[in-house]
């Protein structure tokens, strides 16, 4: 328990407004067409604008937020009998060829799907969301953004206000994403910092989103400086991810884990392909002793799938990694990058594995992002790709309904289009029940507000208390009602035993009470949406102190390949091409 007689660490505060969306407007001073942040402040709708000539501006719309949301959601309804595209809204995306920021029309289009629809009907009509763009240099382009327009529109209703870091790392000068970051116009603090500690790797994955140069292992002093800067900016972090390259190839990886294992950081996650984990039991044991978590990349169960997306057959290596996780009881987050036509038929298998292994606390599905050294050139069709609804449908179809489409909800911690998730309560018999089966996430929105896990925050506890009473009152109506109440009671007993737990023990016990499946759709040059980047909460802390939102970093700042015709950044590439300069909105 924190000592309340000492100075408590500073606490982050909520943003002074709720960021809802982007909308085109004009600068009130010079009338240049610019994009505005639509925010709700004191129940009223306000446009916040940053004009590069006139500076920050704002315009009050004279509309209350509830009416605005209602009208906004109404825009998502396609008129009966409409032929062609229905314009839902506009936003800023990127030209897939030159990466210039361009206006995108967000349209709903009815398409005839190949294969079974969400309802299992062959060749049915579905309403999907597309971006329509027209680059003055490269011409028009289209991209699929969501396979379910209904989900896409409704997700906006889950928007919640963000939280500010204790310290912003850059000034607002040119606007987003050039000023990354994070600047004071960014709408969410860092929920998950990802530190790339090496650009060495023991695989050459065809879908890799980075651009490994095999030149550098970050030294411990630099890593310490990054962690210090992170704590200065955030105060506390629920997690920190150590990534790469392949971080286990870093000769001082254990030292880095030790450096990150500070009281201000809840868990240290080593993101790995698992090869060393399976081969080197002494190394795995040391990770266990240090209290590290494993972020295991596992997105296939056959030689063919591994070869296509990871470059070679990894079946045995992945099995060895899982054996180490089981044997050492290593807390694990499983990461499955889903690629249409290659591994999407193994999504159900991934869910089965996740449910069967108590060590796997969360399962993260990521629709593949076509960016970076591998992903940028990976064969794909931007009009026919996996998005969050497509993966959830496959989860339902491939798990025989154990999990269903309606078990998943947008996570409003980030932009609601970025992440969807479900929590699963573990019953006494080891089976799991999605929270959505016994509670209404729209009613208990707090449970979704802050994080992809359930932290022991006051508002989360209050929401859990409400949930317990709700289930108690309706236990006869809810399937497995008494078993759910028993599981909730068990959770309370384990989280609050008679002999008090240390903060760390309490954290570890809490996270084993429920599991979570979340789907995180990282963006690429086809579906990039500046509005989403604005509220990104997965950030890459940099050596120079900046903390960059993930998709902005991946697409604009890392210097990785952006596509076949896109120039690469010069930094870290000896004898590289001309320095990369950020494109500006047309």
């Amino acid at each position: 328990m924190d000592c309340t007689t000492c100075d408590s660490p500073a606490k982050r505060v909520d943003r002074p407004h709720l960021f809802f969306a982007h909308e085109l407007d004009t600068c009130p001073a010079c009338e240049v067409k610019i994009e505005a942040r639509v925010v709700f402040r004191d129940g009223q709708v306000v446009h916040l604008l940053h004009c590069t000539s006139c500076g920050p501006q704002e315009r009050e719309l004279g509309i209350d937020s509830k009416s605005y949301i209602q009208a906004f959601l109404e825009r998502g309804k396609v008129p009966d009998g409409l032929v062609g595209d229905h314009l839902f809204k506009t936003t800023t995306s990127t030209c897939p060829q030159c990466l210039a920021l361009v206006e995108a029309q967000v349209v709903i289009r009815t398409v005839k799907v190949s294969g079974p629809s969400a309802e299992g009907v062959e060749g049915a009509d579905e309403r999907r969301v597309f971006f329509l763009k027209d680059c003055t240099r490269c011409g028009p382009s289209e991209a699929l953004v969501s396979e379910d327009a209904g989900y896409y529109v409704k997700a906006y209703a889950f928007a919640r206000e963000g939280t500010e870091p204790l310290k912003f790392r850059s000034e607002v000068e040119h606007g987003c994403p050039t000023d990354c970051g994070t600047c004071s116009d960014h709408e969410q603090h860092t929920c998950l910092p990802i530190v790339e500690v090496t650009d060495h790797c023991n695989l050459e994955c065809p879908i890799c989103i980075v651009d490994n140069q095999y030149s550098t292992h970050m030294d411990t002093a630099t890593f310490s400086k990054i962690v210090d800067g992170l704590i200065e900016a955030e105060g506390t972090c629920e997690s920190i991810a150590i990534s790469g390259g392949e971080p286990t190839s870093h000769p001082q990886i254990l030292e880095l884990v030790k450096i990150a294992s500070r009281p201000e950081i809840g868990r240290v996650v080593v993101i790995t392909n698992g090869i060393r984990l399976g081969k080197d039991r002494a190394f795995a044991t040391k990770l266990k002793e240090l209290g590290a978590y494993i972020g295991l990349q596992l997105d296939g169960f056959s030689a063919e799938v591994h070869t296509k997306i990871r470059g070679r057959d990894l079946t045995d290596e992945k099995a060895a990694a899982l054996a180490a996780i089981r044997e050492l009881d290593l807390p694990t987050q499983m990461i499955f990058v889903a690629t249409k036509g290659i591994n999407d038929h193994q999504i159900g298998q991934a869910v089965d594995l996740f449910l069967a292994m108590p060590q796997i606390l969360s399962l993260n599905f990521q629709p593949v992002a076509y960016t970076g050294h591998g992903g940028g050139t990976f064969d794909h069709d931007p009009m026919d790709r996996l998005t969050i609804p497509g993966i959830v449908r496959r989860v339902e179809q491939q798990t025989a309904g154990r999990l269903t489409y309606t078990d998943f909800f947008p996570l409003p911690c980030s932009h609601p289009q970025c992440v969807s998730l479900t929590y699963l309560l573990t019953l006494e018999d080891g089976t799991s029940v999605p929270f959505a089966r016994f509670t209404d996430f729209e009613k208990y929105g707090t449970l979704l507000r802050s994080s992809a896990t359930l932290p022991a925050l006051p508002e989360v506890e209050e929401a859990l208390g409400d949930l317990i009473h709700d289930v108690f009152a309706r236990q006869d109506e809810i399937e497995h009602g008494p078993e759910i109440l028993k599981a909730l009671r068990r959770s309370l007993d384990q989280m609050f035993p008679r002999k008090p737990l240390t903060a760390k023990q309490s954290f570890q016990v809490s996270e084993r009470q429920s599991k979570s499946i979340f789907l995180h759709h990282y963006m690429d040059r086809h579906d990039f949406d500046l509005e989403r980047l604005r509220k990104c909460c997965h950030h890459y802390p940099q050596i120079d102190g900046r903390i960059m939102p993930a998709c902005g970093f991946n697409m604009f700042h890392r210097g990785a390949a952006k596509g076949p015709e896109t120039p690469r950044a010069a930094f870290s590439r000896p004898g590289g091409r001309a320095p990369f300069s950020l494109p500006v909105i047309q």
Binding site: M1, T4, T5, P458, H469, R489, L492, F496, L501
Partner: protein, 245 residues
């Protein structure tokens, strides 16, 4: 020293507030015997800690629900020291559970340990106190038994019952020179409060004038005072130690 010559029995003395009470009473000169129910390791650690500090102390593994065991213990202490003139009814535990999920057994265990335990321990020492025409019975209640606050219902009920027990017993045995009082601490930084959900702690601190939790010793000092000859006219009272909530 406040308690020189006193022989004190503290129930549930192996950890938390009970351990602190033992420490303060011993520091003030009392011979201290404490009971514990199950955890030998905690009891031995407390015993070693107190003895290292020079205390005259003994540990006894006996449940407060074991009537025969308590009677035998008091008989033993009486034989060794000639009396038991201070009893601190401290044994108890906390449990985070809403009424909706509370089992009948949870309720019984909570009420039994706090209330029935106090009854049995008091009955066991009362004989020697009546005989000596002197005694100090001090019950450890809680702020949760005094005013409305977010606390488990069975816990608040048990702690409120101890206040009724205090007032009624004070009336009944005052004629023998025995005073019966209670302390009602607010949230302390160790002991049963130590694993409070953060929301409850934050709410408490928001309303607490001193804006902090109390310490175990801040509560124990009152116990030593009540047990001493400095406290002679206070009877049937409950002293709230909460930093002003």
């Amino acid at each position: 020293m406040l308690c020189e010559g006193r022989v004190a029995l503290v129930t549930g003395g192996s950890r938390g507030l009970g351990r602190s009470i033992c420490k303060v009473l011993a520091r003030e000169g009392a011979r201290v015997a404490f009971t514990y129910a199950t955890n030998d390791d905690d009891a031995n650690a407390t015993l070693a800690f107190l003895r290292d500090a020079g205390a005259r102390v003994s540990a006894h593994k006996v449940s407060v629900l074991d009537k025969a065991g308590l009677t035998a213990l008091v008989k033993q202490l009486d034989a060794e020291h000639g009396k038991v003139d201070v009893l601190v009814n401290n044994a108890g535990f906390g449990q985070v559970v809403p009424l909706a999920l509370m089992e009948e057994s949870d309720w019984d265990q909570m009420l039994d340990t706090h209330v029935k335990g106090a009854f049995l321990a008091t009955q066991a020492v009362l004989r020697t106190m009546v005989r000596e025409k002197f005694g100090r019975v001090i019950n450890v209640s809680s702020l949760a038994g005094v005013k409305m606050m977010q606390a488990p219902v069975h816990y608040a009920t048990a702690k409120a019952a101890l206040i009724g027990f205090t007032e009624s017993l004070a009336k009944e045995v005052g004629r023998y020179g025995i005073t019966v009082n209670a302390i009602a601490p607010g949230i302390l930084d160790e002991g049963v409060s130590a694993h409070l959900p953060p929301a409850r702690l934050e709410e408490y601190l928001r309303h607490c004038s001193l804006k902090r939790m109390g310490t175990l010793d801040e509560a124990s000092e009152f116990v030593a005072f009540i047990a001493s000859n400095r406290s002679t006219y206070m009877n049937g009272s409950t002293i709230v130690i909460d930093g002003a909530v």
